[in-house]
């Protein structure tokens, strides 16, 4: 199967895709974009979160064929050239990253939240990120990071 899709603004075409492959697998193993993570591949942990036509999805639950002709944005596509997105910068500064395996998914989910809700309350942050498991941080510094990113975006 041939899969043609736009990833991070660039049209990509890969051949010989087995129809059972997920979008996550194609991104990671066929397109050289391993940023989206394979923590559960069951749609429970959120570490593979990407945008599909602007909607955040678990890419492990999207069949590769479903991405044909659509636009995918991964964690690799969030930074603007050499400068980190404010959400990414805040994760680094606040200590929201330890092992970092959940980080790409959380960055995309937090990015999506702040697009929709520029100044979220703590409860809104918790609800929005409830689909993303983190095993290292206990989430406190992730909350700090989202608050900091929201503050900076409000001031920008």
């Amino acid at each position: 199967m041939r899969v043609t899709t736009t990833v991070n603004g660039t049209e990509r075409e890969v051949d010989d895709v087995w129809p059972g492959e997920s979008l996550l697998y194609v991104l990671r193993e066929r397109m050289g974009l391993p940023g989206s993570k394979n923590a559960c591949e069951q749609g429970e942990c959120g570490s593979c979160t990407v945008y599909l036509d602007g909607e955040p999805v678990c890419s492990c639950l999207v069949a590769a064929g479903q991405a044909i002709g659509r636009e995918v944005t991964t964690v690799e596509g969030l930074a603007d050239g050499g400068s980190l997105h404010p959400v990414q910068q805040a994760f680094v500064e606040c200590g929201a990253v330890q092992c970092g395996f959940c980080t790409p998914g959380l960055v995309v989910a937090a990015h999506d939240l702040l697009e929709r809700v520029p100044s979220p309350s703590d409860l809104e942050i918790r609800e929005a990120l409830a689909g993303n498991l983190c095993r290292c941080t206990g989430y406190e510094k992730i909350l700090d990071a989202v608050r900091l990113a929201a503050d900076r975006q409000a001031q920008a």
Binding site: R28, K37, A39, V92, V97, C136, K141
Partner: protein, 769 residues
């Protein structure tokens, strides 16, 4: 000195680039991790690589009568199918005893035991081929109850019997009496480390007949030793490099894909990648031991402890792993940070046909803490004093002897830690008139609007050994090089220590900056071309590898100053090194580093040891078993819907003595994460095993705390420097995982008014349904 990190007072203190010891320097890998560019083990890729998969036993106990791989080999795209007969060296591995087959030959002893391997050009091809391997099993009766396994007439999982270790500890009066006597039985379920990055690695065959393995692990050299044994290759032909590690928590101490990937790669002459899915990960690593605990405390009528009697039975599962050392901790530390004049403890680790258990954060202390803390609450209530006060009355102080007769020879601030958490602000009471659903047990499930919801508060305190114990030769090796690069001094630090997310690479930079005065510090990839760093376990790497890096820096500094002394004609003792400058006794600059070094590099490699520990007496369990102790206390506040048995943790506050906080933000991050894992065990995390079968190997059915489950956490860090440790540091990672769970359990008991002698506490335990 103390550091507040309450959520209301926290400020961002991390500053890139300036960080010396004591600063909250930022992680050097942070940017790579937020952009998705950091290479974890499962991200590795090679143009020519094949994929390896594992066929595992469906039975907890069976004899293998035959294996037919013919069908599997005919699947197009399959490169190789391997069984036990293809293991060239010893078909055995293990941390403490090489008792586990690389691939099962005659018997399988637990569900999920590896039986065969397949390499193919696509992971799905390999999986389908594995399903076509025909294994003829004769199913045997399984021993799945740890108590039953201790019966002399129980079937033996291994010869000669099912006892892995019995630790017998006796101190004080042999038959103590006390006016107040209390006892309880407690049960702890099997917890999973649930690191997010699945077991993965890439094995690349080399032209010299050896192998290069890139793998996520906690201790490269102990892996190397076991791989060499199984492959029949010398260490110089088995080279390991640490791949990016997505969390560990003890679950990567034992081998997973290591030998398997090497076997396949050597067989087919191509690189082989193996990467478990989540379900396989639940079978692919050891878990925290389930425990059955029986405790009895005797006390005076004022609550002063007189004696303790305790029995701890740990279910080690089918292979030994680190069960012996876990028994060591449960036995020597299992009565908590209290003063007991008389003690009788028996701790047992046993073989069963359940999943193998071994290391997980807290290592034997976690299970015991649930029992001793529940009993301390009961003692407080019985003698009629406050639950904080009973712990302060009996809590260890510096200079006390613990139950193995070892002097606690640095800070033991049990009473102070408890007072700090007791004095922290409590969360606002539930708004009964107009509660926000999201703050209630059951949340937007809309199961209550506040009716039937009862609040409870619980306390717990713990102490944990830091680094390896009982006479283990526990060292680390560091190589530090100093040279001028582009007109600037650059230090390179090289160790085999595993960065698993805790921030050791940051600390290595901080130590080099502090000791050498340089700004630029390169942390070389961790691999086996330098000596062992020991394990990233037991809260030990800051202490031990940190100590080794400090010592290597000191050696480099001495060597540089010796060169300067020769060049300047002055005694080295009168010279100082600060970055680019060589200064004299009164601070005058005498030379630059560039003058002294020229194009040379100064490099020193140091093997560093903490002060020795000692084996304990076989009959009495007495001895100086541990090198250092770390203390923490928690206070938990919960709201419980007593009609439905649903629990919402409202606050989880903690105080911990860390000796010296080398990186305060990273220390607090460890405490947050550790607290969450302890809370998870108290309320939700259990691998359910029935008749030897794992019933919930997925994140759908094995629940770990989400951001909705976690409450805000107030953290107070105390810094009572340990005079015996580098920089006064005290291990940080494990204590919070030990004291948080019992505090949560105590809070639920306080709300519900029931004994609740098992964790995780499930809704049906609260409602008796």
């Amino acid at each position: 000195m103390s550091t507040d990190a309450g959520t209301t007072t926290r400020t961002v203190t991390g500053v890139e680039g300036t960080g010396r010891v004591g600063d909250s320097a930022l992680r050097p890998d942070g940017t790579l991790k937020v952009t998705g560019e950091f290479a974890y083990a499962s991200d590795l890729w090679h143009d020519e690589m094949a994929w390896g998969v594992t066929l595992r036993s469906p039975h907890p106990h069976a004899r293998i009568k035959g294996i037919d791989i013919t069908d599997a080999l005919t699947v197009p795209g399959v490169w190789a199918v391997l069984t036990a007969a293809d293991v060239p060296g010893e078909n055995a591995f293990g941390l403490e005893h090489a008792d586990q087959p690389v691939l099962a030959s005659e018997f399988v002893r637990y569900e999920g035991e590896p039986v065969a391997l397949v390499a193919a050009d696509h992971p799905e091809t390999a999986r389908r081929a594995a399903q076509r391997i025909r294994v003829d099993y004769e199913v045997l009766p399984a021993v799945t109850d740890a108590r039953r396994a201790m019966d002399p007439d129980a079937p033996a999982v291994h010869r000669p019997g099912n006892l892995v270790r019995h630790l017998r500890l006796r101190r004080g009066e042999p038959d103590p009496v006390a006016p107040v006597v209390l006892s309880l039985d407690f049960e702890v379920g099997m917890q999973d480390q649930a690191f997010l990055g699945p077991e993965s690695g890439l094995a690349v065959p080399a032209e010299d007949g050896g192998i290069d393995l890139y793998v996520a692990t906690q201790w490269l050299h102990v892996d190397q030793r076991q791989i060499c044994l199984a492959l029949g290759l010398p260490p110089e032909k088995v080279r390991l490099t640490l791949a990016g590690v997505g969390g560990a928590f003890g679950g990567r101490e034992d081998l997973s894909i290591h030998v398997h990937a090497c076997l396949l790669a050597l067989r087919i002459g191509k690189p082989v990648k193996m990467s478990y899915g989540r379900e396989e990960s639940f079978f692919g690593h050891v878990h925290r031991h389930p425990a059955a605990l029986t405790y009895e405390f005797g006390a005076e009528r004022d609550g002063t402890l007189v004696y303790a009697k305790a029995s701890v039975i740990l279910d080690g599962g089918a292979y030994a792993s680190s069960t012996g050392a876990v028994v060591g901790n449960a036995g020597t530390l299992g009565l908590g940070p209290y003063r007991f004049p008389s003690v009788a403890v028996d701790a047992y680790g046993v073989f069963t046909n359940n999943p193998p258990c071994g290391a997980m954060r807290g290592f034997g202390c976690v299970q015991a803490a649930f029992a001793h803390e529940a009993l301390m609450d009961e003692l407080a209530d019985t003698v009629g004093i406050d639950r904080v006060a009973i712990r302060q009355l009996n809590g260890m102080r510096e200079g006390d002897l613990n139950i193995t007769g070892q002097v606690i020879d640095s800070a033991a601030p049990v009473a102070e830690l408890l007072q700090i958490v007791a004095d922290m602000p409590l969360p606002a009471p539930l708004d009964a008139a107009a509660p926000d659903l999201r703050t209630l047990p059951g949340a937007v499930g809309n199961t209550t609007h506040g009716e039937g919801v009862v609040r409870g508060v619980g306390y717990a305190v713990t102490y944990k050994n830091v680094a390896f114990s009982e006479g283990f030769d526990d060292y680390s090796t560091a190589r530090v090089r100093l040279e001028m690069t582009g007109g600037e001094p650059v230090a390179t630090v090289h160790t085999a220590a595993a960065e698993v997310g805790q921030g050791l690479i940051t600390l290595q930079q901080q130590i080099c900056r502090t000791e050498l005065g340089v700004q630029r510090v390169v942390v070389a990839p961790s691999d086996t071309s330098v000596g062992s760093a020991g394990s990233t376990s037991a809260s030990r790497q800051t202490y031990v590898t940190g100590g080794a890096v400090k010592a290597a820096c000191e050696a480099v500094r001495a060597a540089v100053l010796q060169r300067a002394a020769v060049a300047l004609g002055r005694p080295a003792v009168q010279l100082r090194l600060d970055g680019e400058k060589i200064a004299g006794a009164s601070g005058e600059v005498l030379a630059t580093l560039g003058n002294v070094l020229g194009d040379d590099a100064v490099e020193e490699t140091v093997e560093w040891r903490h002060r020795p520990t000692h084996a304990i007496d076989v009959e009495t369990g007495q001895g100086d078993a541990h090198v250092q102790f770390a203390f923490s206390a928690h206070r938990a506040v919960v709201d419980v819907d007593v009609e439905l048995g649903l629990v919402k943790v409202v606050a989880l506050d903690t105080a911990q003595d860390v000796g010296t906080a080398l990186n305060p933000d990273a220390v607090v991050g460890q405490i947050h994460g550790g607290s969450a894992q302890g809370m998870g065990l108290a309320l939700m995390e259990e691998i359910v095993v029935t008749d030897g079968h794992v019933r919930n190997p997925s994140f759908t059915d094995y629940l770990i705390p989400t951001i909705l489950d976690m409450p805000p956490m107030q953290v107070r860090v105390l810094e009572y420097a340990d005079p015996h440790a580098p920089y006064g540091v005290r291990g940080v990672g494990e204590p919070p995982t030990i004291s948080s769970g019992p505090a949560v359990a105590a809070a639920v008991r306080a709300a519900v008014g029931k004994p609740l002698r098992r964790v995780p506490i499930r809704p049906e335990h609260i409602t008796d349904t």
